[in-house]
Amino acid sequence: MAEMTYAEAAKQAIVEEMRRNRRVFVLGQDVQTGAYAEVLPEFGPERIRNTPICEAGFYGAGIGAALTGMRPVIEAAFSTFCYSAMDQIVNQAAKSRYMFGGQASVPLVIRAFVAYTVAFAAHHSDRPWGLFAQVPGLKIIVPTTPYDVKGLLISAIRDGNPVLCFDDLTLASMRGDVPEGEYTIPIGLADVKRVGSDVTVVAVGGAVHRALHAARMLEGDGVSAEVVDIRSVAPLDRRTILTSVAKTGRLIVVDPAPGTCSVASEVAATVAEQAFTRLKAPVVRLTAPDIPVPFSPNLERLMFPTGEDIVRAARELIH
């Protein structure tokens, strides 16, 4: 075990996989001077590959490499840059295996920052995990701790399918214990980050930590909150969520993305469909409003659900 930040753990996963498998390589803008500068001498510029600014081009190059035996890791930087390669992600990465009847697959990882609460304004602040969840053929992970990101990224790199990994930047400098060497966390499993019995709080990304904070506050009121970290948006682990709600009878879903057609909507709908008879109260979604992210911190901080919002919602649910 070593203590390190989320960002360090993520990099460790990739660097270790590069050492284990020569087919793994990194593509992205300024990767040679950025996060991978210190391993550039080890892997060289062929495998730590700087790209021009041409998202469709270099994502597509990643897809072509993946279709022919390589395992690229695309460093997308901000999630909003992914839209410039949307056709490649949706039409090529996600669909190729199916369209070609399983002849080939696209073992590709795309890592994208999800930045918010840092006044980067509308062009750098999207949280599009829900948007991409409408695209069959993609796996989507949103790790929330240093431990999780390393284990999930190793799984992602070894996965035979395209995996989008959203790195919630509110967690980048969060520290935690991370095992040395290799371990994997299966994609498709949610994680009960805190056990409780009165209310289930399902959360994604940075909101998991708001939920844990809320759970600690609720403890003082004698309310026992279970916190489920979605962790994998696609495939979504409905079973863990339903099991939790079956126990608590109450659901709050917390998602910093815009509410309409969000991951929060999906969780709420799943529970309303499959655990309806267990519900003691209406489900509650706490999300960002359906508006672009404003620059001014005075406005931006009103957008995202807080620990206090969760506490308030839990108190209301319980009576």
Partner: protein, 327 residues
Amino acid sequence: MRTRCSIPEKTLQEMMRRMLRIRLFEERASDIRVEAKLPGVLHNCIGQEAAIVGACMALRADDFLTGNHRSHGHPIGKGVSLAPLMAELFGKRTGVCRGKGGSMHLADFSAGSLGESGIVGSLMPVAVGAGLSARLRGTDQVCLCFFGDGAANCGPFHESLNLAAIWKLPVVFLCENNGYAIHTPQAQTTAVADIAQRAQGYGMQGEVVDGQDVLAVHDRVVHAVARARDGSGPALIEAKTYRYCEHSEFGEPADPPPYRNEQEIAFWRARDPIELFLGRLEAWGALTREAFAAMKAAVRAEVDAAVAFARQSPAPEPQALWEDVFI
């Protein structure tokens, strides 16, 4: 009389055979489309066979190629068998993509055919990736990237040529310029007369070739493939050609809008790539009219067999719907 070019007679005959395989495959598909209830849409490349075969036959078996929406010819040009392609057009379980892809998504990975795409331009970056992969895996494979004149105005064209150039990748970009994107003539959408001119913007070799002359295309692509293979980087080759059919076939046949005229069609039909080549081979004594007729009959038999295979093949089982989303 000996062949007037350095290419062995066998190879010349194989070129002809592949051109015929493309043409007869498509003619048949087109003929039976309505009667056999072929699902979806067909985009035929009849008229463009020389550009396709001339280029494909410059490849080694382990080389890659990528296509576009008008791509029955590309895997056939690479030499794959017809039955699984035809079965794919029928949407059958025995199709090359198990009936999941259809006409716009033929692919035969066993032959290096990495697929077609219904999205114009979208496989150009993928071709760059195949070239990159060859380099990173330490092979000397080349990727041949087919695209149309219409694709030359889209962003992925630019990004792909630049990437291949700066990384000196083994990619040969082959523009089948048939003069039109659907009904829109090239001049209305493209700020240069020759797509090949754009190569300069990437410090790349660019050249125009007569796309009806299979040997001319072959010669330039052989050269480009050799350079790509030895590490000298990519090239852009523009083959001027023509499609005889309408852009696509779907539903009930309907009259096309008057976007091109009879003279133009007649002009190009007079330069039919198969006839031109046959004339040459005859003159060289490399293929007699009789041998050609026999070859055609054999190809026709192959197409018949492919259709029979397709017809007899079972439809995919319902559970196939769920297969191959994820590995």
